[in-house]
């Protein structure tokens, strides 16, 4: 959608003198106190196709006779067909170009079903699909706010969920468009997850919200033999048994990588400003033994400082007598 192609009903609603808002009464009162007048409940919506391209095996592998599903010579199965650094004649499987880390089998022998190597990689196509869905929903919400003549959108709520057969993901975002009493005509509409009292305190402490921001990172593990065995609790050849617990490095790495990537994606969009109220959510999907998908979403409000910090006086201790 581009500016000006909102449905005719929307234009009528947004120009109506009667406002709508998603604010609680508390937040409404606090916004009025701050000089923000709600004009309309605005929303943005976007539906994306969402596919992991099958659970097994990773993209880049294709059926090749002579290699089995573990990347080893065998009957049927898959081998690497991408552009990874180890691709070459006679060595057709190996790390992908976007591998985050790789793992080698420490054993001296292999059977046909022994996974001799493993890797963690970012499912970058999910990251970019998520970003596109989120950004589109946000742009549409902001467009409605601009149509209503607002300066900003406060109390933003965004939801994202899988629809129908889990291959479709919807992105929905809404918030309350507000006009700053006496403010100049805005060039760009700001947005914020905060509203009411918390927004008021943010502004009082010298920050203005710029926009809501979120990023997703999805890391998938392709387990090496040791990871697979440790996750299954089975005997690991080569002396892993015998008391001392071992770190399942590959899985722990994937968990760290997903969180760091989400943070880096968000930081890349801050432009030197700060992220306030970071909300980090993680979902781990167990696809097979050791085959894990770690999905991580980091949300927050980008805030920029307009006034040097003025420290509050040291806190005073009080006792509330509220029974």
């Amino acid at each position: 959608m581009t500016a000006g192609d909102l449905p005719p009903e929307a234009a009528g609603r947004l120009s109506s003198p009667v406002f709508s808002s998603g604010l609680s009464v508390n937040d409404f009162a606090a916004c009025l106190q701050l000089g923000l007048r709600p004009v309309a409940l605005v929303q943005g919506y976007c539906v994306m196709r969402w596919s992991s391209y099958g659970a097994n095996p990773p993209v880049g592998y294709r059926p090749v006779s002579g290699y089995n599903a573990y990347g080893n010579p065998g009957v049927g199965g898959y081998r690497y067909g991408g552009v990874g650094p180890f691709t070459g004649a006679g060595y057709q499987y190996g790390p992908r170009a976007n591998a985050l880390s790789t793992y080698r089998c420490p054993h001296y022998y292999t059977s046909g079903e022994h996974r001799t190597w493993g890797e963690n990689y970012e499912q970058s196509w999910l990251t970019s699909t998520w970003e596109q869905g989120y950004e589109t929903a946000r742009a549409r919400m902001v467009e409605e706010a601009a149509e209503a003549g607002a300066h900003g959108v406060v109390g933003v709520v965004d939801t994202s969920s899988l629809l129908i057969d889990r291959s479709i993901r919807e992105f929905h975002m809404y918030g309350t468009a507000v006009v700053v009493e006496g403010g100049q005509r805005p060039e760009r509409v700001w947005s914020s997850y905060l509203a009411g009292g918390r927004l008021s305190k943010l502004v009082e402490s010298g920050f203005m919200p710029t926009e809501v921001v979120a990023a997703m990172a999805s890391v998938r593990t392709w387990p090496v033999c040791v990871t697979e065995m440790l996750m299954r609790g089975s005997y690991v050849p080569g002396g892993y048994m015998g008391g001392d617990p071992v770190e399942i490095t590959q899985v722990a790495d994937a968990q760290m990588q997903a969180r760091r990537l989400a943070r880096d994606h968000v930081k890349g969009r801050l432009g030197g400003h700060n992220l306030h109220g970071a909300d980090l959510r993680v979902a781990v999907h167990e696809i097979g033994e050791g085959q894990t998908e770690v999905d991580c979403v980091l949300r927050g409000t980008v805030v920029r400082r307009y006034r040097a910090a003025e420290p509050l006086p040291p806190p005073r201790l009080t006792v509330r007598a509220n029974g």
Partner: protein
């Protein structure tokens, strides 16, 4: 406190100024990421500290050679895996903190899950540093206390030094066949469970305290415990405890007189829009 009209003027002025591009920071500056609330940031700022970066530490350890349902005494491999997973997660959190020149991590949210074959420990918190700068300590502190609690402790003359944790997994041995038969028509104490839980509790608390003394702490505040039978094994019980180890900072304690306050607010009906988001991503 300013009166409402000056507040209104302030936000109007700020909006007008922002349109003209007048703000501090921007391209070329280091961005701060933080999951602290605005209250926590303000109270940290009041004692001269500020947020630097959202940091995390995750570790997964395997539990090897445990049958979970048959045995007696402590399930050593599970207790060790728990200790190592938390210890490694704390190490990773510390090294992320040092990477951004933080002096410590506050508001650490701790999630530990124990499954049949593994223990997973996840720590997420905000690295903080004094506004005045200074080089970070070799071992930054890690604390599950909120920014507010950190400030209160700071004023009271105490410093957090690290996360003290301890866990113990103990078998509740099966009763002898004759006892089982005899007790089948009686409601009596099952001493095997009582003893197992006592043993697990003592083991875990002792480890937590030992960890605190290794950290050079004088005590542990805000201890959280989780106890009970394992979901997947009826004959094993766990007891895990963790909290923030603290020591005297040497600064004089500033303990102002406590004031009595009576709120005139009614209980408010508040709606949290984030509740609509559900538990998904």
């Amino acid at each position: 406190m300013d009166d409402p009209s000056s507040r209104r003027n302030r936000i109007r002025d700020e909006v007008n100024r922002l349109e003209a591009g007048g703000f501090i920071g921007g391209p070329g500056r280091t961005s701060v990421t933080s999951d602290l609330s605005i209250d926590e940031s303000l109270v940290l700022h009041a004692i001269g500290w500020e947020a630097v970066e959202l940091v995390c530490g995750v570790s997964t350890y395997s539990i090897q050679g445990t049958l979970w349902n048959w045995g007696s005494g402590e399930i050593v491999s599970a207790s060790m895996a728990h200790a190592r997973a938390l210890g490694d997660a704390v190490q990773k959190l510390r090294s992320e903190c040092l990477g951004v020149l933080g002096h410590g991590v506050v508001g650490v949210h701790l999630e530990v899950s124990v499954e049949r074959y593994l223990v997973n420990a996840v720590l997420v918190g905000t690295a903080v540093a004094p506004i005045a700068g200074g080089s970070p300590p070799a071992v930054p502190f890690v604390s599950d206390l909120s920014g507010r609690d950190f400030a209160l402790l700071h004023q009271a003359g105490w410093d957090p030094v690290g996360l003290a944790h301890g866990a113990s997994f103990v078998y509740a041995p099966r009763r002898r066949a004759m006892d089982t038969v005899r007790q089948s028509t009686q409601n009596v104490e099952l001493t095997n469970y009582t003893e197992a839980l006592y043993s697990a509790r003592e083991g875990a608390m002792e480890r937590m305290q030992r960890r605190a003394s290794e950290l050079g702490a004088g005590g542990v505040v805000g201890v959280t415990v989780s106890e009970g039978p394992m979901e997947f094994a009826r004959h094993a019980v766990r007891f895990a405890a963790w909290g923030t180890a603290v020591r005297r900072s040497g600064r004089p304690a500033v303990l102002p007189p406590v004031e009595l306050v009576i709120d005139l607010d009614d209980e408010q009906r508040a709606f949290d829009p984030a509740s609509l988001r559900g538990s998904g991503l």
